[in-house]
Every structure is written in structure tokens, then in C-alpha cells.
């Protein structure tokens, strides 16, 4: 149960690396665009950006198979893009338009896709954790070998329902991977100020749950740990905890003055640990791609993001009759 080190990482192909590069870049560019649209008043309310944490979802999606489920908190745009949801539908939900995944009725924090097995998008800190266990309960009950990724942050990790869920998940051998995205800050509260037991995955030991910490700025390390976790769940050995150490570059939400950390701290992470830069280096150093190749990808991603933004601006607001639909099935 030690931290997965880069040395443990198996050989990785050019195509895989290019895939990770593309997926992470899509999230980053998408989020930057969302930030811009927010600044223009096209996105309202709360908007929590995923910039900096891209390697977490991209690495774990690489360990998933068709049928696996995922559920997360309100910092959810990255998870949706990583599991293959359409950037246009996500962006249009951010702008509250008819073309959004929830027809504009959910917003940034509340989006879903049955087709892609994405179960939200939950606005209440920690509430998605038992829901994730419940999804895995359903899979076990139905007798398939699907696994659920239940994502939450270091802030949610202090919620009581997380430990209620650990207890039941282990008791019933549920195939759920609890992914603690430790981005070091729960809103403005640093890990150091919120707990004296900062190794979150080790809390699972009290319930008999296996787990480990992993470098969340390294997509290959995340993928390797994810594969281990998923194998554990699929083998019927019950839940697994991954504490993925990562970092968000932007504020908690758009209206975060970031007084709780220094600019130097953020700059240091960006310049020394950036997940996308890391893969870019692997690609260039390994002779897998030239700067021009990567520029072409950048351009392609930019086009996808711009197209999503255009769609999100052009899509009409939901019809007023939508006020009264979808209250009951």
C-alpha cells in the first residue's frame, strides 16, 4: 500500500500519451473558456474550475471500462469531458441553455449523463460518496462486474457520511473506488488547518479498506494506481481508496480572492509539477511528437472549445414551459 512511484509505471505507447495530452488539454482549455464566459456574464452563480487537476480524471478514466460509473462533487466539468460527454452540452449547461445536458436546469454543479454513466455533479459536499457506494451496490446486486468511481475532495473527506459509507462499502464488499482528490484546500481551508491526520487514505484502514496515495500530477502514476484499484474491486475484494494528491491553480470558485495561499506557491506548482507539461515533455523527449505536432493538437482542441462556446451562446434559453417539467417521472 505504498505510494505508486514512477518506477512502477509500465511502458506507455505513443498513442496513449497523445491521448492523455489531448484529454487533459481539452479540460484545461475548456475551463479557461468557461472562466472567460463567466467573466462576460454568460455563466452565472457558482463555477468551480478543474484547472491543475486534469491528470486525476484522465488517468482514472484510462483505467475504466465501458459500464463503469462515476459520480463527483460540484467541481465536475473535467470528469464529464474525461468520460466522453460532449463539450457543447457541458458548456451550454454552464450558460443555462436548452442545449445543455440538463436542459439548462442544473447548471455547473448539476449535470448527468446516463449514456456515459456519469451520475453527477452534486452540490452538497460529501453527498455523492454514499450515492457512489449505492451505484456499486446496484451493480453488485445485478451481478455485473462494473466498478464505480466515487470522487470527493479533501474537504468532503471530513464529512461524517463518508465514514458511514466506508463502513457499509467494506461490510458488503462493494466495488467502489473512493477517489479523494486532495487539492490541498477545502475552499480556503488548507489540509493542515482542517485535520491532524492528513493521510486521508489511511483513514480507510480503520474500516479494513485497502488504499494508497498517488501523485495526482502524474497521469501515468494515476492510471497505474487506478488499474490496481479497479482490479481489486472487480476481483470482489471490496472497495479501494485512492488519495490523489493534486493542486488546483484557480480559486475554489470564480469569486475566490485566494488570500489563503501565495502566488509563489501556485507558480511553483505550475512551473514544476504541471501534469500537461509533464506529458508534453515525455512526448517530445521520447521522440513521439514534435512541437509542430503538438501545436496542431492545441489548435484542434481550441477549435473544439470555441465551437462549444459558440454553441453555448447560440443555444436558446429553455422554453418557459420547462419550469414545470421533470419534477416527477
Amino acid at each position: 500500500m505504498a505510494t505508486t512511484k514512477p518506477a512502477d509505471i509500465p511502458n506507455v505507447s505513443k498513442d496513449e500519451l497523445l491521448g492523455y495530452y489531448r484529454d487533459m488539454l481539452l479540460i484545461r482549455r475548456f475551463e479557461e473558456k468557461a472562466g472567460q464566459l463567466y467573466g462576460m456574464g454568460l455563466i452565472g452563480g457558482f463555477c468551480h474550475l478543474y484547472i491543475g487537476q486534469e491528470a486525476v480524471v484522465v488517468g482514472l478514466e484510462a483505467a475504466a471500462k465501458e459500464g463503469d460509473k462515476r459520480v463527483t462533487s460540484y467541481r465536475d466539468h473535467g470528469h464529464m469531458l474525461a468520460c466522453g460527454m460532449d463539450a457543447k452540452g457541458v458548456m451550454a449547461e454552464l450558460t443555462g441553455r436548452e442545449g445543455g445536458y440538463s436542459k439548462g436546469k442544473g447548471g455547473s454543479m448539476h449535470m448527468f449523463s446516463r449514456e456515459k454513466h456519469f451520475y453527477g455533479g452534486h452540490g452538497i459536499v460529501g453527498a455523492q460518496v454514499p450515492i457512489g457506494a449505492g451505484l456499486s451496490f446496484a451493480d453488485k446486486y445485478l451481478g455485473n462486474d462494473n466498478v464505480t468511481f466515487s470522487y470527493f475532495g479533501d474537504g468532503a473527506a471530513n464529512q461524517g457520511q463518508v465514514y458511514e459509507t466506508y463502513n457499509m462499502a467494506q461490510l458488503w464488499d462493494l466495488p467502489v473506488v473512493f477517489v479523494i482528490e486532495n487539492n490541498q484546500y477545502a475552499m480556503g481551508m488548507s489540509v493542515k488547518r482542517s485535520t491532524k491526520s492528513p493521510s486521508y487514505w489511511e483513514r480507510g484502514v480503520a474500516y479494513g479498506i485497502a488504499g494508497e496515495a498517488v501523485d495526482g500530477m502524474d497521469v501515468l502514476a494515476v492510471k497505474a494506481a487506478g488499474e490496481k484499484a479497479v482490479a481489486h474491486c472487480r476481483a470482489g475484494k471490496g472497495p479501494y481508496i485512492l488519495e490523489v494528491n493534486t493542486y488546483r491553480y484557480r480559486g475554489h470558485s470564480m469569486s475566490d480572492p485566494a488570500k489563503y495561499r501565495t502566488r509563489d506557491e501556485v507558480e511553483k506548482m505550475r512551473s514544476e509539477k504541471d501534469a500537461i507539461e509533464h506529458v508534453r515533455e515525455l512526448l517530445v523527449q521520447g521522440g513521439h511528437a514534435t512541437d509542430d505536432d503538438l501545436k496542431a493538437i492545441d489548435k484542434e482542441i481550441k477549435a473544439v472549445v470555441n465551437e462549444s462556446a459558440e454553441f453555448a451562446k447560440e443555444s436558446p434559453e429553455p422554453d418557459v414551459s420547462e419550469l414545470w417539467t421533470d419534477i416527477y417521472a
Binding site: G39, P130, F137, L142, Q161, E164, N167
Partner: protein, 463 residues
């Protein structure tokens, strides 16, 4: 091509701010994510990061400028070889100004009725069909047996239905509602949970999202307060928030309301709490037949259903139709007794007092019409209104607290839709506005009583 940089909104409510400091100067290369400026709002100083890449062609708003409106162009980014001077009156970004203004004017009118918003759909015609055909063979059974039969029948009919909760399996139910279910269906479908309401309610909601039909027993609804967030925020609202994708077919059931001598924390009627929430259905049966027919209906319903039972009622016997598959639709009140002088509206254990009072009132020549709402979401308004139009008087009876009670809501509906028919103000009988006391004499005083119903009816009849 030149790109305008606009003054950003950095919080949901920001309309203008101070451009405190430029961190780039004209001619600097800008990459996306780079901090370009510091902007002060009334709350904080925030960093403003670049989205687009390019060269800082021209700074349009000097640092130190205050009162810069959101979406004002503050700088122009150019591409290599391009000069900012070439850029004349760069094209406005689409829409934002107009949208903002519009949003603001909407907000200003929030306190007025939204005349353009479509009205809530009105309920359909009143269902007056009998619950079962005349001549149906009946059998006597307790509410407890009726509930157990309902679950067992639905579990036999659909293998995705399972029961979970504290002591539902090996202990056979704290109130023996699940007696025998473990034997018949096994531990996969009769799941004993640890004492962890918040957790297992959330887990069950996830199981419902995942394609199962959970029946969650709360040992009593007092303990469901621990799970309130999962019931309201996760179960009730997700269908709406997902634009109709993510339904939650789940039943939360268990005893609700005062039992006997168990004090304030174990004696509360949550009818009005749950009835407040769009997205929930709320059922509160009185008789064994209703308990059975409505619970079967609840388990088949594709929505989250709150099913409020009552410990005191569990052992009471009623006639139940002896048929294979018997359900009662939601939103259909039952008229237990017809009368011309006054309408008594109640539900759940309140019906005990309502019916007792009606018997005694009949001896004094007052004929009360007694309506059991049976479901509080949806509510059968039409049956109540039709009765009030006939009797011109109404008394509501429930055990819950008085403020924001179901009776208050029924009264308001009558006032709005049958005002001219009323010959007296509607009286709402409720539990008293106090935490439930333990002492036997005080507990009696805190609950609604048959005597109070009689007194209220006489009062509205001016007798």
C-alpha cells in the same frame, strides 16, 4: 486577428470594479493562464488570468481606474506582426451587455408575480371510482400485516425491489413490519444496515439511480432527520436538475408521529415537512386497506415516495379486499362518511379522532363529512373543495405542529377557491406548539383529541 480583453465579472454579483494593477505591459507576450492584472471588487482583490494568447497590443484602461463596468474592453491582444493601431473599434463580443441588463431588470421584478411564467399544471378531474369493486371478498387484517403483504407481493413481482434498514432482517423489524421477509427473500434482498441513516439513505438513493427499487425502512421518521439532505437534495431534486434523465424510484417508509410516552425527540409528525418538497410524493395511510394498496403503488412509482406510517396504528384491524393485486392511486382522497353540515379533513392517525368525533356529533344531529386525504403530495384538492361547497364549513385535523401545517395549506386553498361558499372560518386542529412532553397528562394535552374536534365543529357550525 486582434482580440479584445473585457473587464471580467469575478463574482456572481459583480457589476463594476477597480483595475488595480496591470502585470503585463504593451508588447509583452501573453499566454493563457498568465496573470495579466489585479482587479479589485468591493469584496477582494482578484487576479485576472488571460484566456487567449497573443501580444499585449494596447492597454485601454489604465491601472488605478475605478468604476470599470463589467464587459468594458480593457485591452487588446494582437498577433505577431500586427499593430494595435490597425485595430479600429474592435467588434463587440456578442450579447453580454444586453443579457446583463435583461437579467437585472428581471431581478428587479422578482417581488411581483411573474406574469409570463406558465401556470403550474392543474390536477385532472376528480377520481370518484370505488377503490375496489362492490362485492369484493374482504378479509380482516392489521395495518402491520397489510404493510408486510404489500412489500412481500411487490418483492415477488419484481426482483429489483429490496428492503433495507436497521433491524429489518434477522430481528424481523423493530416493529415487526418486515417479519418473515428475510426467510422468504434472503439477505441479498432484505439488507440489515448499521445504524447510519445518513449513509444508508444516500446509498439507497445511489442504488435507485443505478436501476434498483429500494424500500428503505427508517426505524422511525425521527431518525430520518439525519438523512434529510439525501432525501431532499439527492432523491427529490435530481430528476429536475438532470433535465429528466435521472429518476429515483425509492420508498422511504417507517413510523411517523407520536408513539406513546417516548418524549420530544421520538414524537414528531413530519407530514408538512415532506409535503413541502417538490419532487417527493408523500403518502400517509390510515386504514389497513390503504396501507396495502398505497404501499404497493409507492413501490411501483418511479419517484421518491415518503410513506408515513404510525406505530399506534400498526396493531389496528380493518377490512382489506382479498384480491391478488390491489393498488390505490395517489391523489385520490377517500370520503369515509358523508354529511351535509361540516367537512372534516384529516389523514393518518388524525382520522381516528375525526371519525370518533363524527359519530358523537351525529348523536347531536350534526352530520359531518369526513375526508381522508391519504396522500399529501399530490393532494386531492377537488374532493375537499367539492365537499366544502356543499357543507360551507371545514375543520382540519392533524398531529403535526401548527405553524406551516397541512391544515394551513388546505385552508388557504379553500380561501382562494371556495371563499364565497364559506359560512365560517376554517379551523385547523393540530398538535400543540410545544416539544412533546413525557409526563402522561402533559402528553395528552399536547396531542389533538376527539373532544377538540367536536368543539371545533360546533364552533364552525355556530352551535
Amino acid at each position: 486577428m486582434a482580440t479584445q480583453v473585457l473587464m471580467p465579472a469575478l463574482s456572481p454579483t459583480m457589476e463594476e470594479g477597480t483595475l488595480a494593477k496591470w502585470l503585463v505591459k504593451e508588447g509583452d507576450t501573453v499566454t493563457s493562464g498568465m496573470v495579466m492584472a489585479e482587479i479589485e471588487t468591493d469584496k477582494a482583490t482578484m487576479e485576472f488570468e488571460a484566456v487567449d494568447e497573443g501580444i499585449m497590443g494596447k492597454i485601454l484602461i489604465a491601472e488605478g481606474t475605478s468604476g470599470v463596468k463589467v464587459n468594458t474592453p480593457i485591452a487588446v491582444l494582437v498577433e505577431e506582426g500586427e499593430s494595435a493601431d490597425d485595430v479600429e473599434a474592435p467588434a463587440e463580443e456578442k450579447a453580454p451587455e444586453g443579457e446583463k441588463a435583461e437579467a437585472k431588470s428581471d431581478a428587479a421584478h422578482m417581488d411581483k408575480p411573474a406574469v409570463t411564467s406558465p401556470a403550474a399544471p392543474v390536477a385532472g378531474k376528480r377520481d370518484v371510482s370505488p377503490d375496489w369493486p362492490e362485492g369484493t371478498k374482504m378479509k380482516t387484517m392489521t395495518v402491520r400485516e397489510a404493510l408486510r403483504e404489500a412489500m412481500a407481493e411487490e418483492m415477488r413481482g419484481n426482483d429489483k425491489v429490496f428492503v433495507m434498514g436497521e433491524e429489518v432482517g434477522e430481528y424481523e423489524g423493530a416493529y415487526k413490519i418486515t417479519q418473515g421477509l428475510l426467510d422468504e427473500f434472503g439477505p441479498k434482498r432484505v439488507v440489515d444496515t448499521p445504524i447510519t441513516e445518513h449513509g444508508f439513505a444516500g446509498l439507497a438513493v445511489g442504488a435507485a439511480f443505478g436501476g434498483l427499487n429500494p424500500v428503505v425502512e427508517f426505524m422511525t421518521f425521527n431518525f430520518a432527520m439525519q438523512a434529510m439532505d439525501q432525501i431532499v437534495n439527492s432523491a427529490a431534486k435530481t430528476l429536475y436538475m438532470s433535465g429528466g434523465q435521472m429518476g429515483c424510484p425509492i420508498v422511504f417508509r417507517g413510523p411517523n408521529g407520536a408513539a406513546a410516552r417516548v418524549g420530544a425527540q421520538h414524537s414528531q409528525d413530519y407530514s408538512a415537512w415532506y409535503a413541502h418538497i417538490p419532487g417527493l410524493k408523500v403518502v400517509i395511510p390510515y386504514s389497513a386497506a390503504d396501507a396495502k394498496g398505497l404501499l404497493k403503488q409507492a413501490i411501483r412509482d418511479p419517484n421518491p415516495v415518503i410513506f408515513l406510517e404510525n406505530e399506534i396504528m400498526y396493531g389496528r384491524s380493518f377490512e382489506v379486499p382479498d384480491v391478488d393485486d390491489f393498488t390505490i392511486p395517489f391523489g385520490k382522497a377517500r370520503i369515509w362518511r358523508e354529511g351535509k353540515d361540516v367537512t372534516i379533513v384529516s389523514f393518518g392517525i388524525g382520522m381516528t379522532y375525526a371519525l370518533e368525533a363524527a359519530d358523537k356529533l351525529a348523536e347531536e344531529g350534526i352530520e359531518a363529512e369526513v375526508i381522508d386525504l391519504r396522500t399529501l403530495r399530490p393532494i386531492d384538492y377537488e374532493t375537499v373543495l367539492e365537499s366544502v361547497r356543499k357543507t360551507n364549513r371545514c375543520v382540519t385535523v392533524e398531529e403535526g405542529f401548527p405553524v406551516g401545517s397541512i391544515g394551513n395549506h388546505i385552508s388557504a386553498t379553500i380561501m382562494q377557491q371556495a371563499f364565497d361558499y364559506l359560512d365560517a372560518p376554517v379551523i385547523n386542529l393540530t398538535g400543540k406548539d410545544v416539544p412533546m412532553p413525557y409526563a402522561a397528562n402533559l402528553e395528552k394535552l399536547a396531542l389533538v383529541t376527539t373532544a377538540e374536534v367536536i368543539e371545533a365543529v360546533k364552533s364552525v357550525c355556530y352551535r
